[in-house]
């Protein structure tokens, strides 16, 4: 990575593909400029000396509480399906897969 990051239209398309999003040509151009600005700003981190520093992925460093390994908090079929865009009484329904 160099100090001047630029983002091309093809990279925006790749990021959209990874994110399962579609971007119009207009959006592609706008996002390319904005992402370039944002990622350039983030290059500030390259100046920080991180040698020997363990990453901190969560501030929760306490021991997790444990419980008996028994099923609880079970949702009914009705509850699980109640917000589905398309469902019958048993299943979520999606377009044909194969």
């Amino acid at each position: 990575m160099n100090s001047q990051t630029t983002i091309g239209l093809d990279e925006v398309a790749h990021m959209a593909q990874l994110s399962r999003l579609k971007v119009s040509q207009d959006e592609q151009a706008r996002f390319a400029t904005q992402f370039g600005d944002i990622l350039n700003y983030m290059n500030i981190l390259q100046e920080v000396d991180v040698r020997g520093v363990e990453p901190l992925y969560s501030p929760a460093e306490h021991n997790c509480a444990t419980r008996i390994d028994a099923a609880n908090n079970v949702r009914s079929h009705k509850d699980a399906l109640c917000n589905a865009p398309k469902a019958d009484e048993q299943y979520f329904i999606v377009p044909k897969i194969v």
């Binding site: 959209a16 399962r20 999003l21 700003y41 920080v48 501030p59 509850d79």
Partner: protein, 486 residues
């Protein structure tokens, strides 16, 4: 005596418990206030009028219950927190019709405490924003100046509290989303320590950063709500098991700030702080000194790297968390689909807003092969450095005391096309979330333009009671800002 809707939650509770006021009376006053003001403010997305009135009548019929600390108190809840049977939209077209089949932990607690939920508060879509302009439905307006933003992302909660639509609200804070709107709207907001309040049933944005907290019009009111929502919950693996202290017992125990050591991080008082905010913050520091506080200069040298660190981590977590919106199990589904891939892509493309897409795509990028180490892993390393600096600074004092926002509320629309400029406004709030520490934002005065300025007290992990104690004393010695003229 002030108007009923501007009474403190503490005063209101006394009146309700003694039957000087009925719950129905209080709920009706708030609902009327909401109906009068909402066309101007846009603080709420869903009104729970019928159920609220029914609950009020049921409470009145049963009579006051001293075991319920918020008995009959009208509240609102940020629309990112699940409320069983009451629409929860996250201010997104994606969840425009989502009715949760269960309550979040904090909603359960709020209901058990006897509070009445009046409605769901507006926010930036999926809590991504600092202005509440990114709501897919309508922006919220600052009650002190309707042309200005209320801050965000819990902007609706701050507006509802500051304007007397309710007595308290629950917000969430991922990078300042409770403290900053509280500061910009002139109310009090607490971001608790990560793990103090369960995230069960809170729609995830940045899971290692998100935390629910109370917003109200005084430190005591905030303490009362925190008492209700704090505590362990086995359904959130990051929820902490240590006991919850009695926040009210010690609240008023400081007769002065005599001997209290307040750490002043020099990085928060430099370039970028507007003269108006700077003046009021310095006046507040002077008032603290006159009350006996010892101001201790401290340094947080990596503050300049906090914004980049935060946004890399928040975007990475967002891209992962928001992968669940696929148009299959809940949420928006595109009608233009011939196969499953298209269903995913079109539902997400049509259902999510611009800022959300930006963060998901950048998050996918910083996690992608070839960039993970340079961005995500490095950000997590800098996160540890920043956290350690906070811990070191807090070893030299009782709490840090610093500004919340570099500016007072700004005009709606002023940063619409420049997301980076918007991110830079979060400079003073987001490092707290990286470190997982608690922060209490409270008003310290009004600017020359009549807009509120807030400062935040930052403490060690799990010592919210210390922040509340100092905050309570600050409230006694700082001038009151009164209420907005709407």
């Amino acid at each position: 005596m002030s108007e009923l809707y501007y009474q403190s939650l503490s005063e209101l509770t006394l009146a309700l418990q003694s039957k000087a006021l009925s719950v129905t009376e209080v709920v009706t006053v708030c609902l009327n206030r909401i109906k009068t003001l909402e066309p101007k403010l846009g603080a709420l997305l869903t009104l729970n009028e019928e159920a609220a009135l029914q609950e009020a009548q049921a409470l009145d019929a049963a009579g006051p219950d001293k075991s319920k600390p918020l008995w009959g108190v009208p509240v609102t809840i940020k629309d990112i927190i699940l409320t069983k049977g009451l629409k929860t939209t996250c201010a997104s077209k994606m969840l425009a019709n989502f009715v949760p089949p269960y309550d979040a932990f904090v909603t359960e607690k709020i209901r058990q405490s006897g509070a009445i939920i009046l409605g769901k508060a507006n926010l930036d879509e999926f809590a991504m924003g600092s202005t509440t302009e990114n709501s897919s439905f309508h922006p919220a307006h600052n009650p002190w100046n309707l042309n200005c933003v209320p801050g965000g992302s819990s902007g609706g909660s701050a507006v509802a509290v500051a304007s007397g639509e309710c007595f308290a609200s629950l917000g969430t804070d991922t990078g300042g989303s409770i403290r900053q709107p509280a500061a910009l709207c002139g109310c009090v907001g607490l971001k608790p320590t990560y793990g103090r309040v369960s995230r069960y049933g809170v729609i995830a944005y940045g899971s290692s950063l998100d935390q629910v907290g109370p917003m109200a019009r005084s430190v005591e009111d905030v303490a009362r709500v925190l008492q209700v929502i704090a505590g362990h919950d086995g359904r959130d693996a990051t929820s902490d098991t240590r006991p919850v202290p009695d926040y009210l017992a010690q609240l008023k125990s400081l007769p002065s700030l005599d001997g209290v050591r307040l750490g002043i991080p020099k990085e928060f008082f430099g370039e970028g702080l507007s003269p108006d905010v700077s003046n009021l913050c310095h006046q507040a520091l002077k008032a603290c000194e006159e009350d006996g506080a010892i101001l201790v200069p401290v340094s947080l040298p990596h503050t300049h790297a906090a914004i980049a660190t935060y946004y890399i981590i928040a975007m990475a977590e967002a891209s992962s968390n928001l992968a669940r919106y696929d148009g299959v199990r809940y949420g928006y589904r595109s009608q233009e689909t011939s196969d499953l891939q298209e269903l995913y892509v079109n539902s997400r493309t049509e259902g999510l807003g611009q800022e959300v897409k930006r963060r998901i795509m950048l998050g996918a990028f910083v996690l992608s092969s070839g960039y993970y180490d340079a961005y995500f892993r490095r950000a997590a390393q800098v996160r540890r450095i920043i956290r350690d600096e906070y811990v070191a600074a807090l070893n030299e004092c009782d709490a840090l005391f610093c500004p919340v926002s570099p500016l007072t509320a700004w005009p709606i629309g002023s940063h619409a096309d420049d997301p980076l400029a918007m991110y830079l406004m979060d400079a003073y709030t987001l490092s707290l979330n990286l470190a997982g520490l608690p922060g209490l934002s409270l008003p310290v005065g009004l600017s020359s333009e009549g807009l509120p300025v807030g400062m935040q007290l930052i403490g060690q992990a799990f010592v919210e009671e210390e922040l509340l104690k100092i905050g309570y004393r600050l409230e006694q010695i700082l001038p009151s800002i009164g209420h907005p003229q709407i």
